[in-house]
C-alpha cells in the first residue's frame, strides 16, 4: 500500500513539474529553471516506476536505460544547431515507436481479455505511434537530404491513401469488437506504418516543420492513449500537454505563412509555383559590391539585420555577430528583425543567433521593428526572401497575400545577400529585389559577410 502511494505521488509530482517546466518557458529567464524542474519530474517518474511490483528483473531495464541514454546523449551533444529540425524529427520517431511497442506488448499479454474501451485506447496508441514513427523518419530523411526534399507524388496517390486510411480504420473498428483476433490487429499496425510514409512523402521539405509539429502532437496523443491503457495519469498529462503544444505550434506556423493546415498537408502549393514562375522577372536587379556596402554600413546611424533561411544554410550566424560587433564599435546601432517564420522552424533564427551569443534583447519581433524601418539607414537582408516579400502586403493576387512581412522596402536603403536568383520557400518572385532602394550582394551569405567585415575595418 505505502509503495502504491509512493509511486502514485511520484507520478503526480512529475505531472505538476512538467506543467511548471512548460510555464517556465514563458520567459527566457525562467526557462532554464523550468526545464530542470521538468527533468527532475521525469527522474521522479522513472524512480517511482522502478518500484512497480510487476517488475521482476532489472537487467533489461538497466540495459535499455544505458543504451538509450548513451545514444540520446551523443545525439544531443553532437548535432549542430542548424540540424535541429532533423534531430527533433528523429527523436519523435523514437518516442512514437516506444509508445507503439508498449501498446503491442500490452496486447500480447492480455490481448483476449481486453474490453472495448481499453482495446480502443491500445488501438489508438499503436496506430498513432506507428504512423508517427514512419512519418517522422521520412521527415528526417527529407530534412537531412537523404531523400529528395521535393514533394513525391504518383498518379492516383490520393485514391491510394484514402483506401489505405479506410482499411486501417476498418481494422481498427473490427479489432474493437474482436480483441482476440490477433491477425487484424497486426495488419492494422502494418498499414499504419505504411500510412505514415504515404502521409509525409508528398510534402515538400520546406513544409516539414508544420508536419513535424503535427507529428509531435500525434506522438503526444499516443502517449496520452498509453496513459488510458495503463490507467496512468502522468502519461495522460504529459501526452496531452505535448499534443497541444504541437498542435498550437503548427497552427501558428500556418497562420504566419497564411496557409491552412490542409493546404500544407495536401500541398496545393505546387500549382502556385508554376504561376509564380510564369510571372517571371520584373525588370533589373541592381548588383552592388562589397566596398560600397561596407561604406554604407560603416557610416550609418541604424542598421537592421534581417536573417532568413539562407543564414541557416550557410551557417553564417557567427559571422553576422562579428559584423554587428565591428559596426557597434563604430557607434552604429544594430538591431535584428526576426520574422516568426523566418528559417524553417519556429524560433529558428532566435536559436541560431543565440548560439552566436547575440543577446535576445537585441532581437526584435515583427510588430516591434516594422515602424522603425523608415528611420533605418540600411536594412541588411541575409538569406531571407519570402518574409520580406512586399507582394504579401501590396498584391492581393499573390498566393502569400496577407502574410505579415518585415517591411524592409521602407528603409532608406536595402542590401540583400543571396547567392543568385534563387526563389524562396514559397517559390515566388520577390519584387523587393527589383526596387531602386535595393542592392544585391551575390554570393554565399557566410563568404559575403566575411568580406564585408574586412571592408568595414578598412572603411
Amino acid at each position: 500500500m505505502e509503495r502504491f502511494y509512493f509511486i502514485e505521488f511520484t507520478y503526480l509530482a512529475a505531472g505538476i513539474l512538467f506543467i511548471l517546466g512548460l510555464k517556465g518557458l514563458s520567459h527566457p529567464e525562467s526557462a532554464k529553471r523550468g526545464m530542470h524542474l521538468a527533468e527532475f519530474g521525469m527522474l521522479l517518474a522513472i524512480v517511482g516506476t522502478l518500484l512497480h511490483h510487476d517488475i521482476v528483473s532489472y537487467e533489461l531495464i538497466i540495459a535499455g536505460l544505458i543504451v538509450g541514454g548513451a545514444v540520446g546523449g551523443a545525439m544531443a551533444y553532437w548535432v549542430p544547431m542548424t540540424a535541429m529540425p532533423q534531430r527533433t524529427a528523429l527523436s519523435h520517431a523514437f518516442g512514437a515507436f516506444a509508445a507503439a511497442l508498449v501498446g503491442i506488448a500490452e496486447y500480447m499479454r492480455h490481448g483476449a481479455e481486453l474490453e472495448g474501451v481499453k482495446m480502443g485506447a491500445i488501438n489508438l496508441e499503436v496506430m498513432l505511434g506507428a504512423l508517427t514513427t514512419t512519418g517522422s523518419l521520412v521527415a528526417f530523411a527529407k530534412l537531412q537530404g537523404l531523400v529528395r526534399g521535393t514533394p513525391m507524388t504518383f498518379k492516383g496517390q490520393n485514391v491510394f491513401n484514402m483506401t489505405l486510411l479506410a482499411a486501417t480504420v476498418a481494422l481498427f473498428v473490427y479489432t474493437l469488437f474482436n480483441p482476440g483476433a490477433a491477425a487484424p490487429f497486426y495488419a492494422m499496425i502494418a498499414l499504419a506504418f505504411l500510412f505514415g510514409v504515404m502521409l509525409v512523402m508528398p510534402i515538400g521539405a520546406a513544409d516539414m516543420p508544420v508536419v513535424m509539429s503535427l507529428l509531435n502532437s500525434y506522438a503526444g496523443l499516443a502517449a496520452a492513449a498509453t496513459g488510458f491503457v495503463l490507467d496512468n495519469k502522468v502519461l495522460i498529462i504529459a501526452g496531452t500537454l505535448d499534443g497541444f503544444s504541437g498542435f498550437i505550434l503548427s497552427i501558428l506556423m500556418c497562420r504566419a505563412m497564411n496557409r491552412s493546415i490542409t493546404n500544407v498537408l495536401f500541398g496545393a502549393f505546387g500549382s502556385v509555383k508554376d504561376d509564380a514562375a510564369a510571372a517571371g522577372e520584373q525588370g533589373e536587379m541592381r548588383e552592388i559590391n562589397v566596398e560600397d556596402v561596407a561604406v554604407q554600413l560603416a557610416y550609418a546611424k541604424q542598421v537592421v539585420i534581417v536573417p532568413g533561411y539562407g543564414l541557416a544554410t550557410s551557417q553564417a550566424q557567427h559571422v553576422v555577430r562579428e559584423l554587428a560587433n565591428s559596426l557597434e564599435e563604430r557607434g552604429v546601432t544594430v538591431k535584428y528583425a526576426i520574422h516568426p517564420v523566418a528559417g524553417r522552424m519556429p524560433g529558428h533564427m532566435n536559436v541560431l543567433l543565440a548560439e552566436a551569443n547575440v543577446p535576445y534583447s537585441s532581437l526584435y519581433e515583427l510588430e516591434q521593428i516594422n515602424h522603425e524601418f523608415p528611420s533605418t539607414d540600411v536594412a541588411v537582408v541575409i538569406g531571407a526572401n519570402d518574409v520580406v516579400n512586399p507582394d504579401a502586403r501590396d498584391n492581393p493576387q499573390s498566393p502569400i497575400a496577407g502574410m505579415p512581412i518585415l517591411e524592409v522596402d521602407r528603409a532608406r536603403s536595402v542590401v540583400v545577400l543571396k547567392r543568385g536568383r534563387g526563389r524562396g520557400f514559397s517559390g515566388l518572385e520577390n519584387p523587393l529585389f527589383f526596387k531602386p532602394v535595393t542592392g544585391m550582394l551575390y554570393g554565399d551569405a557566410k563568404e559575403s559577410l566575411g568580406r564585408l567585415i574586412q571592408a568595414v575595418q578598412q572603411a
Binding site: S26, V102, S245, A354
Partner: protein, 117 residues
C-alpha cells in the same frame, strides 16, 4: 478499465488539455524551438510504461534469447524512449544556455563607450 478510472482519466485529460492550451499559448516565439524539443522530451514519458513491460515477464510463448517476446519489445521501447528523453532534455538545456539577456562582459561595450566618449 473500471468505469470510475475511465471517468477519472477523462477528467485529467480535459483539465490537462485546458492547461496545455493556456500554458503553451504563453510561450513567446523566441522560445518556440526549445519548446518543441522540450515537449518532445516530455513525450518520452512513455518510458514509464516501457519500463514496467521490460521488467515484467509476459506469459507469452514466443521467446527471444530466452526472454518472452513482449519483454524484449519492452526493452526496445525503453531504449527508444530513453533516447527521446535524454536527447530531448539535453538539447533543450544546450539551447537555453545559449539565450543571454545582456552582453557578456565583452570588450565590445567598453569599445563603444571609448569611441563615444
Amino acid at each position: 478499465m473500471k468505469p470510475e478510472s475511465l471517468i477519472a482519466a477523462l477528467y485529467v485529460f480535459a483539465l490537462a488539455a485546458f492547461l496545455g492550451y493556456q500554458v503553451i499559448s504563453r510561450v513567446p516565439p523566441l522560445l518556440h524551438t526549445p519548446l518543441m524539443s522540450a515537449t518532445n522530451a516530455i513525450s518520452g514519458i512513455s518510458l514509464v510504461g516501457s519500463i514496467v513491460i521490460a521488467g515484467s515477464l509476459g506469459h507469452d510463448q514466443m521467446k527471444v534469447l530466452g526472454y518472452p517476446l513482449s519483454t524484449v519489445l519492452g526493452f526496445v521501447a525503453v531504449t527508444c524512449a530513453t533516447i527521446n528523453v535524454v536527447g530531448g532534455f539535453m538539447i533543450t538545456d544546450r539551447m537555453l544556455r545559449m539565450f543571454k539577456r545582456k552582453e557578456l562582459p565583452a570588450a565590445k561595450g567598453d569599445g563603444k563607450k571609448a569611441l563615444k566618449g
